[in-house]
């Protein structure tokens, strides 16, 4: 899961990013509205955390621009403005959720996971695919009822495949959702990660669609 964080206070941005990475999220940071808007329009994100009081372009304008250009990624507004008028305006501009500073990391993570899950069409937090179960609320994978230990990169790939259960996920799409913007993405590394995942959850669970990407399946082959 990859999140765009648009926050002009660099210290707060770093703290939030660190906390989110700790929860296996990949995080790109933009420190002003202009960069944020550009990143949101050109890169693929599972969700965005958007501050309202941003330099250059305000958060509400960024959000409106995204929605106008058909970017419908889930957006969580994280702001110091806690008045109801601001909240209503935020939702009207196209926000999916609204949290006020200071926020507990747990709350932010829970809400981000819920946003991503709902945006992929799952109403219930628990997603089951054969022996594999993903609790989208806690972010925990279980295999045959036992918790699965995964690295951050493995978790991101598996979460991405799980949320698009039975649908082919393009390779470049996976790369985009797994690596942060400034990371050097090795074209072979996805294969390496998938191979490690197959060893952990069973080879037959991840199907390779030649020339396109991967698909999470259960007992189809």
């Amino acid at each position: 899961m990859k999140v765009l964080l648009v926050e002009d206070d660099r210290r707060l941005a770093q703290e939030i990013a660190q906390a989110l990475r700790h929860e296996n999220f990949a995080v790109d940071i933009a420190v002003n509205g202009e960069d944020g808007q550009h990143l949101g329009e050109t890169e693929a994100y599972d969700a965005a955390v958007l501050d309202l009081g941003l330099p250059k372009v305000t958060g509400a304008d960024v959000l409106r621009a995204w929605r106008k250009n058909g970017r419908n990624l889930p957006v969580l507004i994280l702001t110091a403005r806690d008045g109801w008028t601001d909240k209503v305006d935020g939702f009207k501009a196209g926000a999916d959720d609204y949290l006020t500073k200071p926020v507990r990391v747990e709350e932010l993570v829970l809400r981000l996971r819920a946003l991503v899950r709902r945006s992929t069409g799952y109403a219930e937090p628990r997603i089951v695919c054969g022996p594999l179960a993903f609790d989208a609320q806690t972010g925990v994978f279980e295999l045959n009822g036992l918790p699965l230990r995964l690295t951050a990169l493995e978790w991101r790939v598996l979460a991405c495949l799980t949320l698009r259960n039975n649908v082919v996920v393009e390779r470049y799409d996976l790369i985009e959702k797994v690596y942060e913007g400034d990371a050097e993405a090795d074209s072979n590394s996805i294969e390496v990660i998938v191979a490690r995942l197959r060893r952990k959850i069973g080879h037959e669970m991840i199907e390779t669609v030649r020339g396109r990407g991967y698909r999470l399946t259960f007992g189809a082959t």
């Binding site: 210290r11 110091a80 008028t85 926000a95 609204y98």
Partner: protein
């Protein structure tokens, strides 16, 4: 000064009354003087004519005896003892009018004008001690020096004068009265803009209007402009103070957010405790921010917020916020109902109440609004959550940290809502909903 504190009305009336009285008395004195002179002149002319008449009939014999040829006692000199007399004093004898009936008037002590001049006036008394007005002339007839005197009763002057002055006094008093009535009317009329101004200022104070209308008489216009300038300045100061408080609050929140997240990093043992402090700080900031906003309200304003769309927008936002709870919201708010509150404040009140309802509801939230009498609107928000025990109800309306800690969600939004509602002259009441949860009724003034 008594007058400085007395009403303008009285000040103007007393001033005008004193002036009118002085002017009327002065004119009465003037008129009396002029009339006196006029009547006196008439009588003098009469007496002088008599003197001319007498001197034309006067003959002096060889022996210096004066005599009159013919009857010189035409009216009123024929009526005895009325004050109309004449007398001619010759060197040897004296001639008198019939009206003197043998008595005599003493002219010896009077100044006699030189020969040939106009008759001179004098005042004296007659044989019956009646006050008399004299005209005295010294004439020379055939080389003989004679003194001709004609008199009129002083009452002949005073009588007509008194009569004229009585009539005049009545009409002057009438004039004075009419003038005072005119001044009363004028003062009333003149002070009417002041009364209008007083009402306009009262409207500003009660919030029915935000400025004093600028259509004012020229004399009051500078005052009104000054007043409006002051009001604008006050509003600007208020807005600035609000903005400063908001900026301060928002400025504090970002470092606070950083702190909160840094505290929740793994490896910080006392994170829970410290995080509670962060939450407490955040609540205090929010509380005082809301208080600062609320305190800036000086009373009901002319603001008009249609509630149906606002409630819909807020409920929509809360629906998204509580997307996983799948709460069914029933809203029955007639279109066209508006409350006399600023939109931001209405959002705050309705948002806090709806947020509580959504937080505690198990599956149902109902929002209803209706006109409550002619002057207020009742907004009823209920949920099917656990509700409150009756003894908890007064507690949650009181702002207090203990309630914040014991029941998160309650005790925070409700006191702010109540405070705001009361500032607008409304109220918040809590009871048990037929749905099973809490029912909050928010009453706010109806916007006309």
């Amino acid at each position: 000064m008594i007058l400085r504190q007395a009403s303008l009305n009285r000040r103007l009336l007393v001033g005008a009354g004193v002036f009118i009285a002085l002017a009327l008395v002065a004119s009465a004195i003037m008129i009396d003087f002029v009339l006196h002179r006029f009547i006196q002149g008439q009588i003098d002319q009469r007496l002088d004519t008599q003197i001319v008449f007498l001197s034309s009939m006067l003959t002096v014999g060889e022996d210096g005896v004066v005599a009159i040829a013919g009857n010189a006692d035409g009216p009123p000199f024929d009526r005895p003892a009325h004050g109309w007399y004449w007398e001619i004093v010759g060197p040897r004898n004296q001639l008198r009018s019939r009206s003197l009936a043998g008595a005599t008037v003493d002219v010896s002590e009077f100044h006699r004008p030189p020969h040939g001049e106009h008759p001179a006036p004098a005042e004296g008394i007659g044989p019956g001690n009646e006050p008399l007005h004299f005209r005295i002339q010294q004439a020379r007839t055939g080389g003989t020096q004679v003194i001709i005197v004609a008199t009129a009763p002083r009452a002949a002057v005073r009588g007509p004068l008194r009569e004229a002055m009585t009539t005049l006094a009545v009409s002057l008093a009438g004039l004075g009265l009419a003038l005072i009535v005119a001044i009363v009317l004028q003062v009333r009329l003149g002070l009417r803009p002041l009364e209008r101004l007083r009402r306009a200022v009262a409207d500003v104070r009660t919030g029915r209007s935000d400025r004093v209308p600028a259509e004012q008489p020229l004399e009051i216009l500078p005052l009104v402009s000054g007043l409006n300038g002051l009001l604008d300045q006050n509003a600007a100061n208020l807005e600035r103070a609000r903005r400063h408080v908001a900026n301060l609050a928002h400025g504090l929140k970002t470092p606070l957010a950083t702190l909160a997240i840094a505290l929740s990093e793994p490896g910080r043992g006392a994170a829970g405790e410290l995080h509670a402090l962060v939450v407490l700080m955040e609540r205090r900031i929010r509380h005082h921010l809301a208080r600062a906003r609320a305190a800036a309200l000086s009373g009901p304003t002319r603001a008009r917020t249609p509630i149906a769309t606002r409630l819909g927008d807020i409920a929509n936002a809360l629906g998204k916020f509580n997307a996983d709870k799948r709460i069914v919201l029933t809203q029955s708010v007639p279109d066209g109902i508006a409350v006399a509150c600023e939109q931001q404040d209405f959002d705050e009140m309705a948002g806090n109440l709806l947020e509580n309802a959504f937080r505690w509801a198990r599956g149902k939230v109902e929002v209803k609004a209706r006109r409550d009498g002619g002057r207020s609107v009742a907004i009823v928000i209920e949920d099917d959550g656990p509700g409150l025990r009756p003894e908890q109800i007064p507690q949650v309306l009181r702002p207090g940290e203990r309630i914040d800690e014991s029941a998160p969600g309650f005790g925070f939004g409700l006191p702010i809502t109540r405070e705001l509602a009361e500032l607008y002259g409304g109220e918040t009441t809590l009871d048990i909903s037929p749905l099973g949860g809490l029912r909050v009724t928010l009453r706010l003034p109806l916007a006309i």
